[in-house]
Symmetry: C2
Subunit: 332 residues, 2 copies
DNA sequence: CTGTTAGCGCCTTCAT
DNA sequence: ATGAAGGCGCTAACAG
């Protein structure tokens, strides 16, 4: 259990002051070649590794970014995390991830802890809390990127272009002459369903069709939920010819419901999902869906943060919209 | 850009010393009721939040655990991360995750940085580096849990019971009277394929069958790789009647290859996967597979760490084996 | 029950 | 080109 090597140890061995060691290793001020060589040698010999905690206390920088999501095990977020990682790793930033299960208390607790830890930036995907909570818990000095739609005007934000995605999907169906199209959403006011609904409505209106209440189905964002909701839908006297679903899991549930009911996809029922999770290309038949670029979302969040952290951008909040696009497989 | 509130600010407002504030808030030594009340009030008024960086420098504890994996976007690892999170969050530990793409330099760099940051523990799932690298980079004082098979005797380790899993899977096929069973592995010496192969071999031997070299197929761990390898296999003059695959992605590729070749599953070709990723239950037909409990793996890693970090266990390295089990769906 | 003192390891003036 | 000194904010040892 030998003690870690400190900068003083290196200084002693190199016959210089700690100050010179610090500068020799950081390059922040010039050091004579001979001193430089001796310091490097000594550091090497001793296996010196600068203590980042001490450095952070002194410099007020931790080179750490906090990512707060509902559940890292939900297939969407790992891709976000990876995109973020790839955007910031090269500049020496690391990520601490918190899963909050969408519970307000947990979210607040995690944010509070990250502030205590002096993280250099925070990225928020989770949201049971409101904007007031956010501004109360996170001091203005810490850059914040919000990736939950419509929540903020006070912070940088990154969103995927959900309306454009479902609009394109719906148009794809309309172009095939299909007009009886239902939208299968999540619970009202929760998650991206509402934003995605607007694109569908938009496209329908453009085609001169006014969707009725019975064309908009509420589900949750799971396979089981989609299966049940669509099962009921298919037992109606006059079921729709196509479905635009708020996410892939619902769409996969819809596929199962169609199979249960002996309805052929896409001949009798066309199905389009949203997200393009891995499973989308693996189900049978492979799912036509809107690509929601999670990786890119994470990357953009990282870039906005670095812009403030490294480039010194200090202007007003900015909004990045990440484009979505339709990928046509076999269900529509 | 107001400066953060420090313990001295609280002390001044409460009319006590910083020491008393520290103890009042941590409860590590008793404080008079009146002082306690004044401190709490003052802390509340000022919105004081203890600086964890300073605390860490003083206490030599960061309450942070590093998790190193090849790729957080690979569906297996988020479940591990969640299991770890759930095991340690209640005790105030947080996780920093590094994706290394299995590159030795990246792995070493990440580990080195985590040591500099004085993390309290490290969990290693990634491995291009060898055990010498590990012991060289990570000082003995930092508890380490290794979840890469057979790499260590010097550290705590957590493994899933791979051999038992494939043995059960193979027996399940043998019990149906099927004897022409091939094993589709990954690249030799990389990943869990070799360990999973042993269970297959074991079961075959028990049934008096000696697999030949042509019964063991090399692929990578992807859908595309599995599809191609099994495609070639099926074009042999006398293809096997069943496949035990080293992971689910390979198995899903096998399903595609069977469809390509017009081979009926499971009637003409039975297929068993490994892992039980989400997609396994979603493909058609739903995949029979061995459940490899990623969440539980992560949880056990966390427990081993906490045992040393909190309980003060200081004995020899321990090994935890997480059981696997077969889940029978429609492909075998 | 409370306070004073010291120092965790580093970086950054300031002085030379 | 180099060093001495001070302090980031906190907590532990020591003293009362």
């Amino acid at each position: 259990m030998s003690k870690p090597v400190t900068i003083s140890d290196v200084a002693a061995r190199a016959g210089v002051s700690p100050t010179t060691v610090s500068h020799a290793l950081s390059g922040r001020r010039s050091v004579s070649p001979s001193a430089l060589a001796r310091v490097k040698q000594a550091a090497d010999d001793l296996g010196y590794r600068p203590n980042q905690v001490a450095s952070s206390l002194r410099t007020q920088r931790t080179h750490t970014v906090a990512l707060i999501v509902p559940d890292i095990a939900n297939p969407y977020y790992p891709a976000v995390a990876r995109g973020l990682h790839d955007a910031i790793a090269a500049d020496g930033y690391y990520t601490t991830i918190g899963s909050t299960d969408g519970e307000r208390e947990t979210e607040l607790g995690f944010l509070d802890e990250m502030v205590r830890r002096s993280v250099d930036g925070i990225i928020v995907f989770a949201f049971a809390m409101g904007e007031e909570d956010l501004t109360r818990v996170v001091p203005a000095r810490i850059p914040l990127v919000v990736a939950t739609h419509n929540l903020t005007n006070a912070h940088d934000q990154v969103n995927s272009d959900d309306p454009a995605g479902t609009e394109t999907a719906t148009r794809h169906l309309l172009a095939q002459g299909i007009t009886e199209i239902a939208f299968v959403s999540g619970p009202k006011g929760r998650g991206p369903g509402d934003r995605r609904l607007t694109g569908y409505t938009q496209a329908m209106h453009s085609a001169g069709i006014v969707p009725t209440a019975s064309d908009i189905i509420r589900s949750d964002y799971t396979v089981a939920g989609g299966r049940q909701a669509v099962g009921e839908l298919l037992s109606r006297p006059r079921p729709p010819r196509a479905l635009v679903c708020a996410n892939d899991l619902i769409a996969i549930g819809a596929l199962e419901a169609a199979r249960d009911a002996g309805v052929a996809v896409p001949a009798d029922l066309a199905v389009i999902g949203f997200d393009d999770v891995d499973a989308a290309s693996l189900v049978a038949p492979p799912l036509t869906t809107v690509v929601n670029p999670a990786y890119e979302m994470g990357r953009q969040c990282g870039r906005l943060l670095l812009d403030r952290l490294i480039e010194g951008y200090d202007g007003p909040p900015r909004s990045v919209v990440v484009p979505t696009h339709l990928i046509i497989r076999a269900t529509a």
